[in-house]
Amino acid sequence: MSLTVDDTRWVAHLARLQLADAELATMTRQLGAILDYVTQLQQARTDNVEPLAHPLPIHNVFRDDSPAPSLSVDAALANAPQRRDNFFAVPAVLD
């Protein structure tokens, strides 16, 4: 399989990563090589094999619906790159 620069650009967009043109070319080459390697997975026979997402068979872990303390507004906003009053500020979101 061969990855094109356009594929890479598309994936970078999905991942919200700005890649310079030079980076884009290197990335395409490196991703292509890794994907070629990963393609060997297709050789493994996996008919009727249940995918394993969790290493351990744990289930039904719950907590009670009882309130726990929240952070103070200042603590919540302490790491905000841009704070406006008691909000996080971002460039206008266009619907």
Partner: protein
């Protein structure tokens, strides 16, 4: 004194010889003298460490009960959140990030009266096997400064090896504790998935990540594991099972003992000197009456491919939050919101992290998810089944940790795939959730440490530590210290 194990230091302090403050001072001196060369630490909080040590001394004097690690310095990989103290994950993205909370294991350390001496360097977001992917500095192998300490917990491994701290915590997603332990000649333990809470461990790949100790010897690993292991209601994947007193049974040999030796772990790519040292370690067991059994893990050939799909898929999602909106690096210039996302992330992440985010995004994207992601989860089950079958016949599995000893800095940074392939012996444990440990078992002719890996079924840390201790008691590799 700085070359002593934590267990010895604890015994000294309990006897009343010396103080926690002088001990902490000695390690801070060692950091000052050595770390300009080793570069293991990202932040050292001298004042807070000395204050904590002073407080412990005062409490000891008053006869108050003290925790299991009272007065012992512990270094922490900078992937664990520390309240009020910067936690960078070796990334520019989190350069000024100060968590408002402590990771579960940090709370446990504080409760045990450990002295948190500093945060150690790491590959950015724990992605790497050489600690060269840190945005801040390159950590060096205390045995040979031109070589890598391994990674991603290279800072923690190097700090222990360089005697800048007796104990350290790392995290292991595909070998990130065991491989640097092996390359630095220390002990590194990856507990069973779910044994130690991940709460406050900044996620790389959530279904694989686990926190564990890096120490001079197996006794110290048991000591530190005892403190950090156990259920935490804030981590749904943390398992509610009693934690055995590992230190109490540590010196009881496992008898009879069968060690499985997977033939796949001794194939092409394994360095001759490493193989020799590992086989010698197996001989040590054999001499003690252990049965060595040839076992097979046929699907381990797919482990690297499986791992790099599962881990990057999870990572691509885990790292989506670093977008410059609520915390972390925000690009100074941006046209609009999407541009702000792209630039903040483009500027904030290093090359390896970007590569993995890209790979993970790709394997989950529409049209490729079944062929890559879903397929890898199926193979993951086959890999786990391999271990289940093998463990039906043996107590633990032994083999090398890394195909080679420490390589020279810069040697593999141009070839990501070659770097990935060096994880071949460690990543299966993460994919299957089992426990694994690396213990020193020799040196190359060039004086670089070699590690032996032992792996045990889920929640069999007690047995794993006892088996590791059997080797340790018969050898003296763990007592060697580099000259710095």
């Amino acid at each position: 004194m700085i070359e002593h194990t934590a267990a010895d230091l604890l015994a000294t302090l309990r006897k009343g010889d010396g103080s926690a403050e002088s001990l902490t001072g000695a390690f801070l001196d060692a950091i000052r003298q050595r770390d300009t060369r080793v570069r293991a630490f990202l932040h050292v909080d001298e004042a807070a460490a000395l204050e904590k040590a002073h407080d412990i001394d005062a409490r000891r004097k008053r006869g108050e009960p003290l925790g299991a690690l009272a007065g012992i310095p512990v270094a922490v990989k900078d992937v664990l959140c520390t309240a009020g103290q910067r936690t960078t994950c070796g990334s520019k993205v989190l350069q000024s990030f100060v968590p408002p909370y402590d990771a579960h294991v940090i709370s446990r350390l504080r409760r045990a009266d450990a002295v948190l001496i500093g945060k150690t360097n790491m590959d950015e977001f724990a992605m790497g096997s050489s600690t060269e992917n840190s945005a801040y500095q390159i950590t060096r192998n205390p045995w040979e400064l031109a070589c890598t300490p391994g990674g991603s917990s290279g800072g923690s491994a190097a700090a222990v090896a360089a005697c800048e701290t007796p104990l350290a915590l790392g995290s292991d997603t595909g070998g990130s504790i065991r491989q640097p332990a092996s390359l630095c000649g220390v002990v590194g333990l990856k507990p069973t998935y779910g044994r130690v809470s991940r709460f406050g461990l900044v996620a790389f790949a959530s279904s694989l990540d686990q926190v564990g100790p890096l120490t001079h010897d197996v006794r110290d690993a048991a000591l530190l594991l005892e403190v950090i292991a156990g259920h935490d209601a804030r981590d749904s994947t943390s398992v509610d099972r009693p934690v055995p007193k590992y230190t109490r049974t540590l010196d009881d040999p496992v008898q009879p003992l069968t060690i499985g030796v997977p033939r796949e772990y001794f194939g092409a790519g394994l360095d001759g000197e490493v193989e020799q040292a590992v086989r010698a370690a197996l001989k040590v067991y054999e001499k003690a009456g252990t049965k060595l059994l040839d076992v097979s893990l046929p699907y381990s050939q797919y482990a690297v491919a499986t791992y790099y799909v599962v881990a990057t898929a999870e990572a691509s999602s885990n790292l989506a939050r670093y977008d410059g909106v609520h915390y972390g690096h925000r690009a100074a210039k941006h046209d609009d919101l999407i541009d702000l996302y792209c630039r903040s992330r483009g500027e904030g992440f290093g090359a390896e992290v970007k590569r993995r985010i890209m790979l993970g995004t790709y394997v989950l994207s529409s049209g490729y998810k079944d062929a890559y992601y879903v397929k890898s989860l199926q193979v993951r089950r086959l890999i786990k089944d391999d271990f289940d079958r093998a463990f039906a016949q043996c107590d633990v599995i032994a083999g090398p940790v890394s195909p080679t000893a420490a390589f020279r800095l810069g040697d593999r940074s141009d070839d990501p795939l070659a770097m990935y392939l060096s994880d071949i012996y460690t990543i299966s444990a993460n994919l299957s959730g089992i426990a694994g440990i690396s213990i020193p078992c020799g040196f190359t002719k060039g004086g670089l440490p070699i590690g032996l890996q032992l792996q045990a079924p889920p929640f069999e840390e007690e047995k794993l530590l006892r088996v590791a201790r059997m080797h340790e008691r018969a050898t003296d590799w763990h007592t060697r210290r580099p000259k710095l």
